[in-house]
């Protein structure tokens, strides 16, 4: 049974991860070839002397092969094209020569930087396993509804990465207004494709054919104590359901197992949280006791399962104003996620397994 499940699961190719994982280091390496190439002209000016006496140091040809080998090591076989691409990317970034969409989504930065930085964490640290990918439509609007946990919304980032790497689509998350109030976080959120969780934006994105992600538990979900792990909190006021009903897009329930254990929340400082205007100040077994080291998430094993889509196109758009229907669909989504969570927990075995 367990074997079958792991066969169904799509295993993330390690090769692509290894390449991108080193991509960030590649930026540093590029300075080396350049400085080494500067020494190259004087050496090539007198090739015979450089080649014959060993006292002249390392010959230019060897320098060149060394540089080529290093570049090949960093960028792979077609390193020349990759290096040119990287330099072109840096130039575009410095000149502001890139596009953003209406919501401030910077596709290039997200693909080449954010995703590349997250990929090794997803593959090596959390060993993400993704199931039910066939439930994500290849095109058109859809609403992914997920449970929320982990003290810090890492689960959202991992879901975005998983959706992009397996389907090529971008998951556009809807964030709480606190996200857009905080410095740094707000600009990163918009650049990576998020927008404010409000009816206007949700309906705009869905009718525009985007794949939208919501975490209806909000701060109640990520900020719940460790003892309540995998118990779904209230699903907001069902605003996400009325948005889906109004735009007629399917709702895809997503259950994430593993995020609960990354930062076990064992305490809170409500008075300080109120003072700072944030929902909670987390205390974990390692934070703040170990300082920055306490910020390292525990390497739990993650499983993401996309459930069967719940279709909403059978309902008329006007039925979005029927509160009973909205509550029923909300409950249906919540129940599906809760049951899948229990199944996945049984499947996973150990927390770090």
């Amino acid at each position: 049974m367990a074997e079958e499940a792991s066969e169904d699961a799509v295993v993330i190719p390690i090769a692509s991860g290894a390449r991108s994982g080193r991509g960030s280091r590649g930026a540093r390496h590029t300075t080396d070839p350049k400085s080494e190439r500067e020494t190259e002209p004087e050496a090539t000016a007198e090739p015979p002397t450089a080649a014959e006496p060993p006292t002249a140091g390392i010959p230019a040809a060897e320098w060149l092969t060394a540089v080529q080998d290093a570049a090949g090591e960093v960028f792979g076989d077609d390193w020349e094209r990759r290096l040119a691409e990287l330099l072109a990317f840096l130039r575009r970034r410095l000149e502001g020569d890139y596009e953003i969409d209406d919501y401030g989504f910077d596709r290039e930065l997200t693909e080449r930087f954010f995703m590349a930085a997250l990929r090794p964490i997803a593959e090596k640290w959390f060993r993400l396993e993704v199931r039910g990918l066939e439930n994500i439509p290849a095109e058109g609007g859809a609403l992914v509804v997920s449970n929320h946990s982990g003290t810090v919304p890492v689960d959202g980032l991992m879901t975005m990465l998983a959706v992009h790497d397996h389907t090529g689509r971008f998951l556009r998350p809807l964030g709480a207004d606190l996200v857009f109030k905080l410095p740094v976080v707000s600009s990163l959120a918009r650049k990576s494709g998020a927008t404010l969780a409000c009816t206007e934006d949700a309906e705009r994105m869905l009718s525009g054919g985007d794949l939208v992600g919501v975490w209806p538990e909000g701060f109640k979900g990520i900020g719940k104590p460790f003892s309540e792990r995998y118990k779904l909190q209230r699903f907001g006021r069902g605003g996400f359901v009325s948005a889906a009903l109004r735009t007629g897009v399917p709702i895809i329930p997503l259950s994430v197992v593993g995020a609960e254990e990354i930062y076990p929340l064992v305490g809170n400082v409500p008075s300080l949280a109120r003072l700072l205007g944030v929902p909670y100040i987390p205390i974990t077994p390692f934070f703040p006791w170990l300082g920055p080291l306490g910020l390292v998430p525990l390497p739990s094993k993650w499983i993401l399962e996309f459930g069967e889509p719940i279709r909403t196109d059978a309902y008329a758009a006007a039925e979005a104003d029927d509160p009973m229907l909205v509550f029923n669909v909300t409950d249906q989504v919540r129940e599906t996620i809760q049951h899948t969570l229990f199944d996945l927990l049984r499947d996973r075995g150990g927390v770090f397994g």
Partner: protein, 325 residues
């Protein structure tokens, strides 16, 4: 028989250029320009009436000249150019009220075009990504230009209710940009080092000044009633804009930018108002679907193209003070 158009605020550059362009249109018989001070540039065929719109004289002008179209574009964005915030509010709000009162009395008026701004939507972290015309600001503006415009829009709506026979077009223009445009935002981009709010990268939307003139003209000619957002296609983030401009920028905490802005305002270097600080922190985007479908207007410059045109002027010419005038 052509139209008789009255334009307020002709002593300023955009007002003057619009009045001249309107006068050149064969479907317009006559253009009357009104302002408190005489215009500096050439008005061409426009007949200038020196009148204060805060004064009932404006009603006499409307009646005497058989004006059928009024274009109101004398809302001032900067207290510096008006001679203080008190004066600015007086000119903006009381001036608009007087003008609307005169319009209400007029028997000949058929169309009213008001140049408003997307500043009325405000800027806050709770804003939707794109404002449509039906949405209001998340927080009512408490001071400055935004408050003036918000109040003026209220009076215009009141007028539209009372005189339902008049086609009222309200143009909510995004930040107007272009060569030689002087506005708080263009002056900001003309600073040698551009201060930014640390940790925020607002989305900006621009309207090229030529497109502003065209849309006002379009509204005068077609007389489509309603409120319309008008902006160039697409958006730019502030960091992107600064990079495209090629100017250095320095990021500092929000309170420091506010303090710097106040200092610059006192030193008369630049008008850096609190609502502009909000805009440069949270940004704004407006939806222009209605502009296309109902108004039938298509801007020639996208946001990026309008900004590129502005960049050519800024980087081409040497810096002239803070660029005022």
């Amino acid at each position: 028989m052509g139209r008789v158009v009255l334009v307020t605020g002709v002593s300023r550059d955009t007002g003057r250029r619009f009045a001249r362009a309107a006068a050149a249109d064969p479907s317009v018989e006559r253009v009357i320009g009104v302002d408190v001070v005489p215009p500096r540039g050439d008005l061409g065929e426009v007949s200038f009436v020196r009148a204060d719109i805060r004064n009932p004289v404006i009603a006499k002008v409307l009646a005497k000249e058989d004006v059928d179209t009024v274009v109101h574009m004398s809302v001032i964005a900067t207290p510096g150019s008006a001679g203080g915030r008190g004066m600015m509010k007086e000119l903006n709000v009381i001036g608009s009220m007087q003008l609307l009162a005169a319009c209400q009395k007029s028997a000949t008026i058929e169309r009213l075009v008001v140049k408003s701004t997307t500043t009325v939507y405000g800027s806050s972290p709770r804003d939707p990504a794109m404002f449509t015309e039906d949405m209001g600001p998340k927080r009512l503006p408490s001071s400055g230009y935004a408050k003036d415009v918000y109040e003026i829009e209220g009076y215009v709506r009141g007028f539209a209710r009372r005189r339902s026979d008049v086609a009222v077009t309200m143009i909510r223009a995004a930040n107007v940009i272009g060569p030689h445009v002087s506005s708080p935002l263009t002056n900001y981009f003309r600073l040698p080092v551009i201060p930014r709010v640390l940790g925020y990268d607002p989305r900006l939307q621009f309207l090229h000044v030529d497109d502003l003139l065209r849309v006002l003209h379009h509204a005068v000619v077609t007389g489509t009633p309603g409120t319309f957002n008008v902006a160039g296609d697409g958006l730019l983030t502030l960091s992107q804009a600064v990079r495209r401009l090629g100017r250095p920028s320095v990021a500092m905490p929000r309170f420091a930018v506010g303090r710097l802005g106040a200092t610059m305002r006192q030193a008369r270097l630049s008008d850096f108002s609190p609502e502009q600080l909000g805009f440069l922190t949270y940004g704004r985007g407006v939806d222009t679907t209605r502009m296309r479908t109902e108004l039938g207007f298509e801007p020639t410059y996208s946001t990026a193209e309008a900004f590129a045109d502005f960049c050519r002027e800024v980087t081409g010419a040497p810096l002239d003070g803070a660029g005022r005038g």
